[in-house]
Symmetry: C2
Subunit: 633 residues, 2 copies
Amino acid sequence: MAVSSQSVSSQPSSPIKAKQLQQLATQIRRWIVQSTSAADSGHPTSSLSAVELMTDLVFAGTFRYDVEDPEHPANDRLIFSKGHASPLFYALWAAAGQVSEEELMSYRTFGSKLEGHPTARFRFTEAATGSLGQGLSIGLGMALAAKYLDHLPYRTFVLLGDSEMAEGSQWEAIQLASHYKLDNLIGILDVNRLGQRGETMYGYDLEAYQQRIEAFGWKCILVSDGHDHSQVRNAYADACQSTDQPVMIIARTIKGKGVPFLENQEGFHGKPIDKDRLDEALSDIGEIAEPVQGEIAKPDDVQLKPLESDEAEPPDYKIGDELATRDAYGNALCRLAMKYPALVALDGEVCNSTRSKQFRDDYPDRFFEMFIAEQNMVGAATGLALRGKLPFVSSFAAFLTRAFDQIRMLPYSQANVKFVGSHCGVSIGQDGPSQMGLEDIAMFRTIRDSVVLYPCDAVSTEALVEAMAKHRGIAYLRTTRGDTPVIYDINEKFPIGGSKVLRQSDEDQVTLIAAGITLHEALHAHQQLKEHGIATRVIDLYSIKPLDHATVRQAADQTKVIFTIEDHAPEGGLGEAVLTSLSDHATAVNCLAVRKQPLSGSPEKQLDLQGISADAIVDAVMRFVKHDSGASD
Amino acid sequence: MAVSSQSVSSQPSSPIKAKQLQQLATQIRRWIVQSTSAADSGHPTSSLSAVELMTDLVFAGTFRYDVEDPEHPANDRLIFSKGHASPLFYALWAAAGQVSEEELMSYRTFGSKLEGHPTARFRFTEAATGSLGQGLSIGLGMALAAKYLDHLPYRTFVLLGDSEMAEGSQWEAIQLASHYKLDNLIGILDVNRLGQRGETMYGYDLEAYQQRIEAFGWKCILVSDGHDHSQVRNAYADACQSTDQPVMIIARTIKGKGVPFLENQEGFHGKPIDKDRLDEALSDIGEIAEPVQGEIAKPDDVQLKPLESDEAEPPDYKIGDELATRDAYGNALCRLAMKYPALVALDGEVCNSTRSKQFRDDYPDRFFEMFIAEQNMVGAATGLALRGKLPFVSSFAAFLTRAFDQIRMLPYSQANVKFVGSHCGVSIGQDGPSQMGLEDIAMFRTIRDSVVLYPCDAVSTEALVEAMAKHRGIAYLRTTRGDTPVIYDINEKFPIGGSKVLRQSDEDQVTLIAAGITLHEALHAHQQLKEHGIATRVIDLYSIKPLDHATVRQAADQTKVIFTIEDHAPEGGLGEAVLTSLSDHATAVNCLAVRKQPLSGSPEKQLDLQGISADAIVDAVMRFVKHDSGASD
């Protein structure tokens, strides 16, 4: 359904308005240098170059935003991909009357919401930025939400720096935005020529950017003087006429504009003005007779269609069914689709492997093929989540490492994104190590307040996918390539932070803690060890983070040793999570993990090589028991 | 110095040669389907589409390689960025007489060197691939080595798939290759239209690729039929004429070419031919009367200028000097440059922050600005390392996470790359969390056999930079933004895997283990605790991996509790490394780390908020001692 974006006017309605915009720009410049000098920290020159670009976007009628109602569904979005221009970002909102001067001068001080790079702690921040090259993908996600999900007329504007255009993630976003005909996505490229330590690759060659971006199907609008209000406003008017093509405004600007001793000079990146030159700078920028506040045009009223939800059919697996947890993931997505109408799925061209394909086929309007471009996929998911969607991002676990920088930024946006990594571990078999997720548990564990799940069968997978959907926060679930037997009854509950004790007795000498594929190996080992007269407790640690400390501790109290077994590197994974849990406990923990370079070969041989197969677990336990009993003689 | 690449001929020297190439192509096709069917695993259709492209590259005079001398300095390089076409890769070398048929049929079996995706275990593999979108960057690094360092005439050829062109890392490589005028880098883009689960973004629209790649300054050569030997050979002849521009050959091919029931069909990606259709496929491909072996043209003789080395001046810091370890890194690079003539440095547009700038100024021929494009930077470093250089890659620790997928692939190439991540931890101060490295220790620890170092002062930094240079393998060193005092004498030794016990006594109740910035906090805490009558041991764990188990264990034996203190997330870092070391030891370990969302603010406030400042350490220790003595009453 074609949605017309909101109409805009290109010219201020009067000379008074034009004068007001100039005054706003002056006021904003003053605040930029004052706030950074007060903090003795920050990036004034990078902020100064984009003042007209932003002032005329926000206060001349293009940008639509109800400052009384930040939740208005038709508010335009503004993302500062060049997050270090935060002084400008905060000054804009101060100019809108939303931030006091006092608060502005608290910039970068401890506890201030006005942080060095914008985070969700400041209420007008769309998405946390600061790691460059990420904002356009986030904007793309918001534009997808507007155009294809919510059918809302808002636009998403992304302020970009020229240096960050080297980042490949930007070109992923550029490709995908064109592919998805996102004419509601407008990038503003602030070409001030100077990167952090000298000139960028293309300097002031605006046509170089134009040629490249146009080649990917964007409409480009060049602004030869990014400080000329008239040229800037015309560019926005032009941009808002686009149909089916995303738009890049490419503006030649001057880094440090407004303060002659800074203008276009190398060596001033990230440097606040010394307090002893501040007055000179303010004098150069100019005075305002009286404070000026900008008005932001309001968005149109819109009808938001409420999302209807429906109950989900329960899954119907039987104990003993053989299927892969990745299949269960695919089933769960489809089963839960109507219960969670905000749920959308993104995949990196491997949906037939991750099994998100079924959701794609059943709910094509809610599935986004993101091609082999994982960084942009995660950025887009961030944007979707910030627009109220419930995105499930899938690829091979190994390839999610492509987006670690995007993933680590998520907490600062408080973005509710879910991840599912398939083909975890050596047990994928013959494809070999390039395809194996061996570091993913560690990666996701480092994300503050993340949830890290690793179910061993279809029943627990389905339950945990729903738990992820209900959970507010970043969550990751590992799936296995090969078939595994269903071991749980369909009515079993799997709370996040829980675990399952699958085998226990009063004679348990040893505890085996595992998850996913190695849980089944542990169960086989248990049986073999039982036949050798060694009783072992088996714990399914399906929730690696948060972890069920009580159950783990009880096992440590009641058995002589703990073995952890994981199809993952030894570092940062399940084993170290258990060690952390028992950091003040005397019981020893032996961690079995993937320590050798994996090869190609069958899954069985892979597990054996790594010492995490049932046989290997049995050997390890028996060596311990023998040693232990020998020592006690 | 302009180096002419090796001359090539475009036409086979006779009809006999043309026939031989066709036969080689047939033989290679047969091997592709036979080896994957034997393995019942692999990607035959992705391999079949590139047969003529590769056969005519390698066996028709373009490619120069001395099969008797894989170390010949002027050998051309061939990288399969589409690593899943490994059956083709191995079949090529079999056609050159370097792999037996028996070995070919061991493809993907356990222990075989012919793995599912090429790794260094196969001697003709230039670089391990399989995670898509990485090969062009690696090739770029090799081309940089040839053109700017070794002044050798070899070319680097990279076989690319169309799907993987979505990866932003490819566009980083495309930008940088153009910027560096790498006319010795030739990409061959196998446009077979079909990705893993359907058509790619651009299908068979060769001009779409051309338009985009040309926009970045590459010379593009279109091949309308990538199975027409004559067209393919002409393309290579044309490609080898390029000056100052890298070249992309864009060839329209058919996925599954040679086996009609596979050709251009969806649903066959990654599927070997069933054994019951194998004969049909082989019959379609055709027979060869007798085995045929291809000749590879030999490279020209070259003079390799031996690299001269010279002694390094020792550093001359005095105990008490205040300077940042990042400064010491910059100094070390310059100091060691003549001793390690293969040493080169790469940086991601932050050399003034990482301090690699001094090396850039002093040794501009050995410094490569890689702009804000970390994935390509790591790929290029991989290529440089594989060509015998000693690359030191620097950026902010946080931004190295941008390249985790490239980093995790390094062990499979056995590439000797060194990493230095600056601005680690919350102690960077006001820039806030987007700039803070909080997950980097965990990331690098997961890399098999990696070395992870975190020096606390300039002396240990310099020593460890040299240790990294001498060490064979992947190594990472964290540097701190702010000044710290020199605490070591210039003659102190810092072996990898060692540690320093800085304070100890027979009365030690508690051990503090720290590194980097928190080591200094621990020393201050030690002093304060001493004044409270509590003796603490202080260990500088500058080598987090490998870790000095003996010293840590001794401390665990001799003190009641261990506190680890790190400016890093709790997961996967120094604390968990110590926990792993003491996994069978009863002594408790309390891990202090960054657990709260960091804010902007001074370094001091940041450390305090996180409970890793000297005061916070003192509080934590005193709480323990009080509880411990209370418990024993």
